[in-house]
Symmetry: C2
Subunit: 205 residues, 2 copies
DNA sequence: GTCTATACGCTGATAGAC
DNA sequence: GTCTATCAGCGTATAGAC
């Protein structure tokens, strides 16, 4: 697997160096504002190497896409292996995504931000790709086991993860200047108990 | 104001015809995959006209941006003028956004989807732009009046609107093939009452 | 596998007639 | 204001040496 660190960039083998550099550039400037020459210079490789390994710029983007989707899948799979309750699984996934957003910003940004259809016309849109499908399936299992309200799985999944994803977007866009993990507890509370004022919730109970 | 309709495209004055065509093309292919020549051909105008009115492709994108942001602002402002309760205001905004997504798909897609920083480096990111700021402010007022739980305004705003925005994205990406208004009631219920199974909510009450 | 130099097409932009 | 013809620059991709 590929672990991207800027500091270690120069020590990586060519293949990984290209991917690592491309990730940084794509996230920073956007795919279309990065030329092969930019990647070539910053990664200290030749254009020929890039074409040898990836067959061009689109090939680089595609390889990146698969690497990072896989990384996200593993994150979700690890949570499932922990055999937590349904609700704890959801919380854990959100918690990990929040940590990722802080420690591996560009990975999350590339997966979440990019309109991959603009430059990867063959790939399915990201929300239907495996990690998100998996998350939807988790929700469906939670409904069947009665741990969560019944309903359209997409609506329920959006209700659970929508707030978290929104916060990640805000954080990536630089609108939020608070690290996401600090907001975790409050968000979890909001999503499970709803947005009613707490006084009402208590008076009902 | 600009009301974009594909059918009436050919009857519009040049200025609006360019904007309308550009909107469709930008959403369909993405800003960078659309050339001035594409716009020129499809809008039945000359390149000269485009440069006269907008000063270039970026100028077209910028004008579009302002038009559509303004349209969204008005949508929110109209809701505020109705003087509903805080909660009803939120519901109404979501309802209108859902309708917009169905009837004016490309407008919503352009405002929501695009990473405008990639091609409009001078503009602020969309989530911090006026309509979203306004929505956050509404939330803040709701907290002060006790109609909603206290907390970080971004977290609360994400809790309220995050699910809706997520569904809009899914719909725009073609993952959902149900018109959003049909999902409205269920979503609203989820967001106000939380994701607990309904049986538990009832037993608590 | 890695590199450099080069070719070719596309795109944004301009000039100048009407 | 609208148009066409044309230019200059950039970015992808290739060819061929090492």
């Amino acid at each position: 697997m590929l672990h991207l660190k800027k500091a270690a960039t120069q020590d990586l083998p060519v293949y990984d160096r290209i991917l690592s550099t491309a990730l940084d550039l794509f996230v920073e400037r956007g795919y279309h504002n990065v030329s092969i020459h930019d990647i070539q210079k910053l990664a200290n490789v030749s254009i020929g190497s890039i074409y040898n390994h990836f067959g061009g710029k689109e090939g680089v983007a595609k390889a990146l896409y698969y690497h990072l989707i896989r990384e996200m899948e593993e994150l979700v799979a690890d949570v499932i292996d922990e055999n937590l309750s349904f609700r704890e699984s959801c919380n854990r996934i959100i918690s990990l995504l929040f940590e990722y957003t802080e420690s591996k910003r560009n990975i999350v940004a590339y997966v979440l931000h990019a309109k991959h259809q603009e430059f990867l016309p063959d790939e399915p849109p990201i929300c239907s790709s495996t990690p998100f499908k998996t998350m939807r399936n988790i929700v469906q299992r939670g409904m069947e086991s009665g741990e969560i309200r019944e309903g359209d799985p997409w609506v329920v999944a959006s209700g659970i993860f929508g707030g978290a994803i929104r916060l990640i977007h805000l954080r990536l866009d630089g609108v939020l200047n608070v690290p996401l993990p600090e907001l975790y507890d409050e968000l979890i509370d909001c999503m499970w108990h709803g947005m009613e004022p707490i006084s009402i919730q208590e008076s009902v109970a």
